[in-house]
């Protein structure tokens, strides 16, 4: 964002009359699209919100629906997308994060109920499940050199099945002792979206303004170069797998509190795919080296607006996939073409 404010004055150029000033504004507006990867998805998000807001006024613009859209739908996608953006940038992916989501609340439940671990500690251990899952993904991918696409399919199966075994495939009740904390974590209507906004803000800064972010981009942009510069690329990847794991665990625990039940069929591939899609339509490169967490956040809201909007409009869920698919592809076409413009602008 800071880039825009710095660069726009020069784009406005010598502002003579009002005519040239207006032209300058239009040009700087277009310039933002070409330079800021978040801009496209931001406009798409606003467009969708306006469309559903105007077309289905009473149903869409309500507090109940805002909670549905933001806390229930967008927040989990956005939080998972944070991890996926970091991983995609450094050249990896985590397909197992949706199963960390499934497993983490069960770890919390069992520690509290059967091992009498105090509630807060049990919740923290639930989150640590994600840390461990991320470490294992890192170990298999970085140390044993298995492509993360395969690694995380494997660990995903394992964690999904573990949740089924633990629960005997039956939904379980939230342990009573944890309910007090649950309110802050996810049970309260606005809790999830507040967490999501806070985490997006923090990790946006981590990615754009810290050494960790810079090194993550370096590892994904030029793996050999980063190593030659002395960056420990293995450590960066381990770290980002672990961040992603914790994000998945957090979303799993939040969802359990929000729904007031721990469901062994919650999570799975869908939240992971939505997270990856939010990341990619938000402007993160599948091949590494660049990406934006802010864009992924807008992407998550855009995706949820579509699902939620259809719900409000009362349109059958059957054609939703068609619209969804088209929306994703159109968003990507726009992104790819803008990226080409960016490249062209650079070489001039």
């Amino acid at each position: 964002m800071s880039q825009v404010t710095e660069q726009s004055p020069s784009l406005l150029g010598p502002s003579g009359g009002t005519g040239s000033r207006a032209l300058g504004l239009v040009r700087s507006g277009l310039g933002i699209f070409v330079r800021q990867r978040e801009a496209t998805v931001f406009v798409v998000m606003i467009g969708l919100l306006l469309y559903f807001g105007i077309a289905y006024n009473s149903g869409f613009v309500s507090q109940v629906n805002a909670v549905d859209l933001l806390s229930e739908n967008a927040a989990p996608i956005a939080i998972i997308a944070i991890g996926e953006v970091l991983l995609l940038i450094c050249g990896e992916i985590d397909l197992s994060v949706g199963f960390t989501f499934t497993l983490a609340p069960f770890v919390m439940l069992y520690l509290n109920i059967y091992y009498h671990v105090p509630a807060l500690l049990a919740i923290i251990c639930g989150l640590l499940t994600g840390l461990v899952a991320g470490w294992v993904n890192g170990f298999i991918t970085v140390t044993l050199r298995v492509p993360s696409f395969i690694t995380t399919i494997g660990t995903g199966f394992i964690m999904g099945s573990m949740a089924l075994v633990f629960s005997h495939a039956e939904p379980q009740e939230i342990p009573a002792a944890t309910v007090n904390y649950g309110k802050w974590i996810g049970a309260d209507s606005w809790a999830q979206i507040i967490w999501a906004v806070a985490l997006v803000a923090i990790f946006h800064i981590v990615l754009t303004r810290t050494r960790w972010g810079l090194h993550t981009i370096a590892v994904g942009g030029n793996a050999l170069g980063a190593r030659e510069a002395g960056i420990n690329s293995g450590m960066i990847k381990y770290g980002n797998f672990m961040i992603t794991g914790v994000m998945g665990a957090l979303v799993g625990i939040q969802t359990a509190f929000y729904n007031n039940t721990i469901d062994p069929l919650a999570g799975g591939y869908q939240p992971m795919f939505y997270g990856v899609i939010a990341a990619v339509i938000g402007g993160t490169a599948m091949l590494g080296g660049s990406g934006t967490i802010l864009g992924a956040f807008f992407g998550a809201i855009a995706l949820s607006t579509l699902t939620d909007g259809f719900d409000v409009a009362g349109i059958s869920a059957n054609p939703l996939g068609i619209i969804f698919g088209i929306a994703i592809i159109v968003a990507m076409v726009v992104n790819v073409q803008l990226a080409r413009l960016r490249e062209a602008g650079r070489s001039v």
Binding site: G225, E228, A229, G230, I231, R346
Partner: protein
């Protein structure tokens, strides 16, 4: 090894010839002794002995596959030798990592430059040595320092905010060199800094190298293919053939013709051997 020791009696000179030579070259900032390296079945370096004097520019030449880059990567801590000793500023060291070598003042500019296309010029210049107001990057400070430094070195870059992907080959090379020099490296290892470079760009880089030598007392090892350029800019030349150093001469004592003849001769001999083996 110190000069304070009484000179050895004349009779012992021959038996300790090696010791005697190294004492004479006490101004060596970097020395590799009996270094060897294998990659599986491939022997990259066999018993390499090389030394670099303070303020000297040493040209390292040799055919493709002779082991030049491997030797350089060992000297800068990127790879470890299988055997042999490295001596930096008079002390034997086991380089653990690139960072370790850097801490000792040894830094390399790799053939691929190790630049990150997606990052700006100033982030590349400070990669792994970022200025930080913990926990945030001190971008403003890095930007200003990069600008000043590149100006001082006479490197012409439109903006330090530009992504390095947008720069020409010569500009990229200049930034990679500036980055290592900026880190206060006193021993600089350059892997083919003039490869794939136009005449004008090559001239700029060579001027930069001369300037560094003049003003900053940086010692350098330069790998290059163009013997003319090597003799022009280097004080001394080492020729590496099949993982061994087979020639070590001052630039003024050799010529492009001689170097060419040696390499061509080697090629001819290898060809003859192969033909003989075939018949």
């Amino acid at each position: 090894m110190s000069l304070d020791q009484p000179a050895p009696p004349a009779g012992q000179d021959d038996s300790t010839g090696r010791e005697f030579t190294s004492a004479l070259e006490d101004d060596d900032v970097l020395r590799a002794e009996h270094v060897s390296k294998r990659f599986g079945a491939v022997t990259a370096l066999v018993d390499v002995n090389l030394h670099l004097r303070k303020g000297e520019i040493l040209g390292l030449i040799g055919d493709n596959g002779a082991g030049k880059s491997t030797l350089l990567k060992i000297l800068c801590g990127f790879q470890r030798p299988d055997a042999g000793r490295l001596i930096v500023n008079g002390e034997e060291v086991q380089l653990r990592s690139v960072d370790h070598a850097r801490a000792l003042g040894v830094d390399a500019v790799y053939q691929d430059l190790a630049l990150i296309n997606q990052l700006s010029v100033y982030h590349n210049m400070f990669l792994k040595r970022e200025k930080v107001h913990w926990p945030l990057l001190a971008n403003r400070g890095m930007r200003r320092a990069a600008r000043n430094y590149l100006d001082e070195m006479g490197v012409n870059i439109p903006s330090v905010d530009a992504q390095v992907a947008s720069l020409s080959g010569g500009q990229r090379q200049a930034i990679a060199i500036a980055r290592t020099v900026y880190s206060e490296a006193k021993i600089l290892l350059l892997d083919e800094p003039l490869a794939a470079m136009g005449v004008k760009e090559a001239a700029i880089i060579m001027e930069l190298v001369r300037d560094l030598k003049r003003r900053r007392e940086v010692s350098m090892i330069i790998i290059a293919h163009n013997y003319g350029q090597v003799l022009e800019v280097c004080d001394r030349v080492n020729l590496l053939q099949h993982g061994e150093i087979t020639l070590d001469k001052q630039s003024k004592d050799t010529s492009v013709q001689e170097l060419n003849d040696i390499v061509v001769e080697e090629y001819r001999r290898a060809l003859e051997q192969r033909q003989r083996a075939a018949s």
